[in-house]
Symmetry: C2
Subunit: 201 residues, 2 copies
């Protein structure tokens, strides 16, 4: 691997962390150059345009997310344990890899949802993929016999997404230390509602 690819990755690592605080539209070539100790032009050459740079940041965030949230959860037993691990990882992933401003993708969803263009498309695509992966994980719970066969998979994925969003908002905006527990409580209640063996609550 050439040295170019190396520094490009180093730039992106810095960029993701910076985007976590100021947003992806808040990124500027100058600020990122200063943060990495490079010249504006030297950094710029790696991407060709600011928009390309931002797109690269979105993709890098996506990679990081999968590495931190999804892949570790694959070691859990398929079905409910794995789904639970996914949610647990999701709730803390930004803190885990030291993104002080929270998940850049969640923020990007709000930044670009009103502005058509490649960035909006990329973010929408990334979150769409993730939602589908989440719904699939719920589906596996049905297959594994953890949830009832008539479980509305997409609806459940929707609700899980919601309780994670709520938790992230509370922990980022209010610094509420209970937000994770709240989300897991809601998750467990949701799961027990569709549980095949109606465990007592």
């Amino acid at each position: 691997m050439g040295k170019g690819e190396e520094t490009r990755q180093a730039i992106l690592d810095s960029a993701v962390a910076l985007a976590s605080q100021v947003g992806i539209s808040g990124l500027s070539v100058g600020s990122l150059a200063e943060r990495t100790g490079m010249s504006k032009s030297g950094l710029f050459a790696h991407f060709g345009s600011k928009e390309e740079m931002q797109l690269a940041v979105v993709r890098a965030t996506q990679e990081l997310f999968l590495d931190t949230v999804m892949r570790p959860a694959l070691r859990e037993k398929r079905g409910l344990p794995r789904l639970r691990a996914i949610v647990a990882n999701w709730l803390v992933w930004a803190r885990r890899i030291r993104l002080p401003g929270g998940c850049p993708l969640a923020a990007a969803a709000h930044e670009f949802d009103g502005q058509p263009g490649p960035l909006r498309d990329e973010v929408s695509h990334a979150l769409g993929l993730w939602r589908r992966a989440l719904a699939e994980a719920v589906g596996k719970c049905v297959e594994a016999g953890d949830l009832r066969p008539d479980t509305p998979v997409d609806q459940v994925a929707f609700e899980i997404n919601g309780l994670v969003l709520a938790s992230l908002q509370d922990s980022q905006l209010f610094q509420d230390p209970e937000s994770e527990r709240r989300a897991m409580t809601a998750f467990d209640r949701l799961m027990s509602h569709y549980a095949l063996n109606p465990a007592k609550e």
Copy 2:
């Protein structure tokens, strides 16, 4: 009321709509001046600084939100009907008053959660107030006998917030027309879980 207050309000109306698309940090004095047909300096004089302008936009959005979501719901019967109206209004409020990019406050929560300062404080305060109002509305459901006395009020408010966030994300980012129905389904299931008269599901 002097003419100053009038145009100031007109500016803020435009600003809220623009912020809906580009975010509150995406607002610039120049773009807003062009949109309102004023000169940069003429518009600027109404606020004294950009930050003061952004703070005014946050407060204006808050006012608009209360007028559109909360106050109309007060005509419903106290308790569950009113809470249900609040949620229903909340789900469509941005569309109702023609904010094409969705709720500026929800976006602002993500924009500023990583950057300490007056804007972060204002947004956090506004959303904190709203959350408390929501929890209070849930509490009224308990008082009115719609929900069980042991209902965990804050937890329920947390979950309601989550399902609204999920709906707003889906409708803004994926243009999913089912997102409202999904949220109401989740809401009704949540309510029936804590219902005093355990209605059949």
